[in-house]
Symmetry: C2
Subunit: 369 residues, 2 copies
C-alpha cells in the first residue's frame, strides 16, 4: 500500500504540500528523514523519534546486508519488528555505499562487485539483489540501484553511467519490489541538463511510485547543484513524490523545497550532533568552545527541546569533553528537534503561501549570529 | 537536613529496613546506588533513572574535581542543578580513585599528592580539600577521606594506615561538611578483626551521620570478606545507616543485607551493560554469544523492563557487535532494572521476615541456568 496526494501547490514558488500513505502510517511532505544506518538512529530509541515527531526514517541496505544480513532480518519478521519501529521506513539500494568503497569495488553492466569494509569478504550487488534485500527488510519505500558518477565527470562518462543506471532501473522494476513496497527511480546525469532530461523521461516511461534526484552534493559548485535541482524537478510527474537524496543542510532543505522537492535525508543532524556541532536559528555552534565552559544557558534560548529545557551549555560541554554517552543522545535529540521544527515551519509557510517571507526570515536570522 | 530511621529489624538475620530523609527526598534502605562518575550515569538521563525508581546515585569527587572542577560546578549552582538530578546524591571522597593511581600518587600524613590521569598535572588531596570539594558539589551525603590498604597487607601496614585514616576522619569532621550535608565515616582495618573493632570504636567516638565499611573487594578471599562484614557491621550504631562500599554483585547485595548493610554502590551493572554482560535471575549472559544471533526472545523472559518488552536478543546482539550507541543505553536500562527490582524484592522479604526463603529461592534460580 502506497499513495501520494498533492495537497497544495504554493502560489509563488515550486514548493508544495503532499501526503504519503503507507501501511505503516502517513507522512506529510516536505519531510526530512533521519538516517538509521544499521537499523537504529544513533543514540535514540524509536520512542524518542516518536516524541520528536519523526514520521519516517531511512535505513541502509549495504550495512544491513553485511550485518546482521537481510535473510536473518527477514526470518526475524522484517526490519520494522527487528528494530521496534512501526512507522514508515525507506531503504536505499546499497549502491551509494558500495560506490564509496573506491578501490574495493568494480562496476560491470551486470552489477558491482565489492569487498566488505567489515571483513574483506567478496560480494556482487545486482539490481535484482538490491530488490531482494529491500524486500527482505520489508521497507515501505525501496530505491532502485543506480550509479552515482563522481564530480567532475566527463560528458562521456556521465552518458555511459546514465545508460547503466537506466538499464538497472528497468531491471529493478522487472524484479519488482516486495509485497506492498513502493519503488522509486533515481534521476542521474550529473550536471548535464540534457542527460538529466533524458534520465527523467526514461524513468517516467518505466513508471515508478516516486522519483529521486541522485548524484548531487558530490563536490559540484552550489550554483550548479541548485540549477540542476531547479531544472530537473519540474520534469518529474507532479502527482508523485520527489526525493532529493543525501542533501540536508538547513539551507539545502529550504532551497530544495522552494524548487519542488518533497523528501530529504541526510546524516548531517545526527553526525554533527556526535561531533558537538549543534544547530540553532542563528547558525551552528560548537559545544566544545571554551566560551561555554561556565555558560548556564541552553544551546539555543529559542529552542523548546528536551535538551534545551534541562541542560546548560556548560554541562553539555563537560559531557562532550568527557566523551560521555549521554552527550551523543542529548545532542542528537536537539539537532533532530531543530530539523523537525524547521520542516514543520516550512510546511506551515507553504500552506499559507508565505514561503518567500519564511525564507527571508530564515536567512536574516542566520546573519544575526 | 539528614535523618535515618530504622523501620524494621528482621527476625532471623541482621537484615533491616530503614528510611533516610534528605533535602532532596527519601531513600528506602537497603538501597543500591548506581554510579554516575562524571556527573552522569553513563547512557541514561535523570528521567530514565526516575523511571527505573533509582532513589539516589553516587558521583565521584576525583573526576569532578579534575573536570570540570568543583568551583565551576559550585558557581553553576551545584551538582544537582548541573546534571539535572533533583534526587539525593552521595559523593565519595576521591581517595579511592587517587589510591588506584598507583605510582602516580604519594601518601603523607598531611594528605596525598597525585598526578591527574587526564593531563599529568600535580594535585594534593587533603581531608580538608575533600570536604571542600564535596561541599562545592553540594551532595546530600559526603564521605571522609580514607586510605584503602591493598590486599594482602601486613598487620603493621594496616595498623599505620588505620591510624592515618582515623586522623583524617577527625580532620574531616573538624573541617565540617557543607550546609545540610551528612558526613559518613569509613571503617578500615583490612581483614584484621581487632583493627576493624578499633576503627569502628574510634569513628563512633568522633560521631558521624552514617558509617561505611571500606577496603573490601580488593582481592581478599570471599570468606574473609563475608567474615569481616559479619563481624564489623554489628559494631556500628544501629540507628545510623551502614554503607558497604564498592560491593555490588547480586550475591554481594544479598549477603550484605543479611549481615545488616543498608547501602551499596558499584559500577558493575552499568559497566557490565556496556560490555554486553546482562543480568538475569538465572545468572549473567553475554549478548555477543553466537547462539543469540537469531534469537527472537528478550534478554530475560521473566523481566518486565523496557528493553525486554521491546527488543530481541538478536537485535541487541546486532547493536552490540555494530558498537551502536543504543546498545549501551538498552543494556544499562536492563541491568539497572534488574538491580532495582532485586533490591525491591529484598526489602519486601525483610519486611515479611522471610529473608531466608528469599535467599534460598535466589540461589536456586541461579543454579537452574
Amino acid at each position: 500500500m502506497f499513495s501520494f496526494s498533492l495537497e497544495h501547490q504554493e502560489k509563488n514558488s515550486q514548493a508544495r504540500l503532499g501526503l504519503i500513505r503507507t501501511a505503516h502510517g502517513e507522512i506529510r511532505t516536505p519531510v526530512f528523514m533521519p538516517v538509521g544506518t544499521q537499523g537504529t538512529v544513533k543514540a535514540l530509541t524509536p520512542e524518542d523519534l516518536v516524541s520528536l515527531e519523526v514520521p519516517i526514517i531511512l535505513a541502509n541496505t549495504y550495512h544491513l546486508y553485511l550485518r546482521p544480513g537481510h535473510d536473518r532480518i527477514r526470518r526475524l519478521g522484517g526490519l520494522h519488528r527487528f528494530m521496534h519501529w512501526d512507522r514508515p521506513l525507506l531503504t536505499d539500494s546499497g549502491g551509494y555505499q558500495v560506490f564509496s568503497l573506491g578501490a574495493l569495488r568494480k562496476i560491470t553492466p551486470e552489477g558491482v562487485s565489492f569487498r566488505s569494509h567489515l571483513d574483506g569478504s567478496s560480494h556482487f550487488l545486482t539490481p535484482e539483489l538490491a530488490m531482494e534485500i529491500q524486500a527482505a527488510l520489508g521497507s515501505d519505500i525501496a530505491m532502485c540501484l543506480d550509479e552515482c558518477p563522481p564530480y567532475p565527470a566527463t560528458y562521456e562518462y556521465a552518458c555511459s553511467s546514465l545508460e547503466l543506471t537506466l538499464n538497472w532501473a528497468r531491471r529493478c522494476r522487472q524484479a519488482r519490489a516486495g509485497e506492498g513496497q513502493a519503488l522509486f527511480g533515481i534521476v542521474q546525469g550529473g550536471v548535464f541538463p540534457d542527460l538529466r532530461r533524458e534520465s527523467a523521461a526514461a524513468l517516467r516511461e518505466i513508471g515508478f511510485d516516486g522519483y529521486a534526484l541522485g548524484g548531487l552534493s558530490v563536490g559540484e559548485p552550489p550554483e550548479e547543484r541548485l540549477e540542476t535541482i531547479a531544472r530537473t524537478l519540474p520534469l518529474l510527474p507532479a502527482d508523485r513524490p520527489r526525493y532529493l537524496m543525501g542533501l540536508g543542510t538547513p539551507e539545502d532543505l529550504v532551497e530544495g523545497v522552494e524548487r519542488g522537492a518533497d523528501m530529504f535525508d541526510c546524516v548531517l543532524p545526527t553526525r554533527n550532533a556526535r561531533n558537538g556541532m549543534l544547530f540553532t536559528r542563528r547558525g551552528e555552534i560548537s559545544i566544545k568552545n571554551a566560551a561555554y565552559a561556565e555558560d548556564p544557558g541552553p544551546i539555543d534560548p529559542e529552542c523548546g527541546c528536551y535538551t534545551c529545557r534541562n541542560y546548560s551549555r556548560a554541562y553539555l560541554r563537560h559531557l562532550y569533553l568527557a566523551k560521555e554517552l549521554l552527550s551523543y543522545r542529548l545532542h542528537t535529540w536537539h539537532n533532530l528537534y531543530y530539523f523537525m521544527e524547521l520542516m514543520q515551519e516550512i510546511r506551515q509557510a507553504v500552506a499559507n503561501d508565505r514561503f518567500e517571507d519564511f525564507k527571508t526570515t530564515f536567512y536574516l536570522q542566520r546573519k544575526e549570529s
